[in-house]
Symmetry: C2
Subunit: 452 residues, 2 copies
């Protein structure tokens, strides 16, 4: 997919690029990609999307079909189209590794490159970090609420398209989901694929019990029976019958699924009926419009559940279906090639100037206590979160396997205070501006106001 995405760009990136091509051809610039404000229900975000960014940068070129289309718009000069035909990204990119917890104002990606190039990649970078970090962050909350119970991604039918579906599977698996129902994501990313049955399967047989039996004999090792098509109590009874039938054949019924009605009530009934029949190992799966809040409430009210199938609400990050990601210039070279810090001054949208780094500070026990947003060259005792991933256009970062990223997310979250992870938390993790950056901001702001 990434190989055909050179035109996945806002037109203005290209028109601005032509302007730079004429007037600021040799300028270099640094851009920060960051989130201006966390959404209402998020006290932290989890970085994701770097894998796709690296692949995009590696493959980015404008083929004759692309430049042909652009030529047909009658906007661009032949000189500039020739430049595009030979385009190759040659700058540096620093980024937080996938799975890094981050906060507002912290650059997740930092690009230093010829101004034209840094501008052209903006739309793709924003789009990619937005989707994947948004889903990773939501999934992290859902997994947290499930308190060690398994969470599965069931969102394919409601994600924003096919690409979003597989990215949702990947980002949510990264943040602790146990698998996905989306087969393509399993194939692309090696994620465990899971599934139960739909109401239509039950309805395709004369009797519910017939449908259960048909499924159990087809998949004796992995049957999860959906028990709420007609009458939930009868459905559970039928599941018990199948559980005993499989037991006789030396198989274990894997589970039952509750998708409607009073899940707390029915899960308790089902647990009792299954246990009494000697089917204590049969798991109970809940689904149907779940999110982190509903999962927490179900567990609080004593629901007997082993796992959750979570669809729409996680797959669309329904309470925050976008992040306030932006991409802002922070320094640019003058005619002599010296980098000069710059910033945006417009009302309520002020940015931080200069080439920056984020330092994460730990206490003696290893717990994270604060982040410091500083100038790169400042000496701060803390772990720098941005690492170099592209050096003069060449990928220098080895993408870790998804399983490692998964472990990294878990370990990272463990080091943050509990209240950060509480899904109701309004806790604000401290992100402190370094003295050097604070001073630079004041100076640059003053200079810019004077100059204009």
């Amino acid at each position: 997919m990434d190989k055909k995405l050179s035109l996945l760009v806002d037109l203005y990136e290209l028109t601005m690029a032509q302007g730079y091509f004429i007037y600021r051809k040799d300028a270099l610039a640094t851009f920060d990609l960051f989130v201006r404000q966390l959404p209402a229900n998020r006290s932290y975000l989890v970085a994701a999307g770097l894998r796709d960014i690296l692949s995009y940068i590696k493959n980015l070129k404008f083929n004759p079909e692309d430049t042909g289309y652009l030529r047909s718009r009658e906007i661009f000069s032949e000189d500039f189209l020739n430049y595009l035909a030979g385009f190759k990204f040659g700058g540096d990119i620093w980024a937080m590794p996938e799975g890094t917890v981050f906060f507002a104002d912290e650059p997740v990606v930092r690009v230093t490159a010829p101004l034209i190039q840094a501008q052209i990649i903006e739309s793709f970078l924003l789009n990619t970090v937005n989707l994947q970090s948004m889903i990773a962050s939501k999934a992290s909350r859902v997994v947290w609420a499930a308190k060690g119970r398994k969470v599965f991604d069931f969102s394919l039918r409601r994600t924003h398209g096919a690409e979003a579906a597989v990215k949702v599977s990947r980002s949510s698996y990264m943040c602790g989901c146990a698998g996905t129902s989306t087969v393509l994501a399993g194939k692309l990313y090696g994620i465990p694929v899971v599934g139960t049955m739909a109401h239509s399967f039950v309805m395709s047989f004369k009797q519910e019990l017939d449908s259960f039996l048909a499924y159990a004999t087809t998949f004796p090792k992995r049957t999860i029976l959906l028990v709420d098509t007609y009458n939930t109590r009868k459905g559970i009874e039928n599941a018990v019958t199948i559980g005993l039938y499989l037991k006789e054949k030396k198989y274990r019924l894997q589970g039952i699924r509750l998708d409607s009605g009073d899940i707390v009530y029915w899960s308790k009934i089902a647990r009792k009926m299954l246990d009494r029949a000697g089917l204590g190992y049969v798991e109970i799966v809940a689904s149907g419009n779940l999110d982190e809040f509903k999962i927490r409430d179900l567990l609080k009210r004593g629901a007997c559940l082993d796992s959750f199938g979570v669809g729409t609400n996680m797959g669309t990050s329904i309470d925050a279906p976008s992040l306030d990601v932006i991409y802002k210039i922070s320094e640019i070279t003058d005619e002599e090639g010296n980098f000069l810090p710059t910033m945006k001054l417009s009302s309520r949208k002020v940015t931080y100037p200069g080439r920056k780094q984020v330092f994460r500070i730990q206490d003696r026990k290893g717990s994270f206590v604060k982040d410091i947003l500083a100038l790169e060259k400042e000496k701060i005792k803390g772990k720098p979160l941005l690492v170099k991933v592209i050096d003069k256009g060449r990928v220098v970062y080895k993408d870790p396997p998804l399983e490692s990223i998964r472990g990294f997310v878990r370990a990272g979250l463990n080091n943050f205070p509990e209240q950060l992870k509480n899904i109701n938390s309004r806790y604000k993790y401290p992100v402190v501006i370094s003295p050097g950056l604070a001073k630079l901001r004041k100076d640059v702001s003053g200079q810019l106001k004077k100059r204009q």
Copy 2:
């Protein structure tokens, strides 16, 4: 993209398919794809996605790589994998043409096919109709609120991935947007592409005026200047300077853009300053977190605006980032091959049985007054909304050009009562159940309850 989407399927569709393959191989069934409930801020929806469904069905096959992956899961029998290797959709599909206004409970797509086949296509159909109809519906409201002023899709950076970006451009253009900033969508669908400039462009020059001049000399026929980077009043003054400069050269400054601050206030100021300078033709574009409600409020408060760049809120359908689309079996053949109507009974999720059609009823003036959800065979005087698009696996529907669909949406909406389109409307357009369908539902519900 469509050619590689056979595994874009929930695992359970395939496990159920294997169950059918053994136990109900010859069964035929009908499924309805419909929206159970309209989201809170929607009094109507606009159908979209059929184009991609037709292309998916035409190209749907499981190649050796797909079946190889499935084999590696150790779930499926060789017999079934062989069946998949030879899979070809051979059923009938009826659908509402793209751009049709529809309501809750009305089938947008109706599939009658071998049970296995109808099941396997479920996930893709839901995913496709969900995204595209959701965006079409949102865009329709935004366009309505703009009262004839132009609306542009600026959402690329916040859509859920690359595919969503181009689908958003297409669906929103279908519903009256005037263009998109997403270049790839322009290339794929022939949609007008538009763009202005970003703050980074202004910040890349020593003085704002330098940046304006650079842009205007590069694109003298299509310059829209962003005036709020440092100081909005000064920005407008600089834009006037450029407008006069271009005028001298016999060009017209196309517009200015306001992206922050008090848009009503600054648009009035800008209009006055431009008019006084003899630049009455220079348009004023607003952007920055707009949606239908903000656009209505800006216009109500007298903002002097000619067009709107709408991004995140439209591109994610932020107040309703999913539709309650479902795909439910409504009839299935018995052993003798006779279709028997069926339905789901679970609490609050009851469905309508039988093969259905939606009839739209007009009064003498041509205005739409109600829809009737009926059995297909009932004789109802009204326009049937579902048309046959696939006959025994063959596409029999000619996809209209996007421009025609655009006209069809506009004409369709014109025939609905005004209060339906009011963005604050809680108006419920009447969707009536036909006597035949009401009776069938009662009968089938009784039979099913007795049988289980």
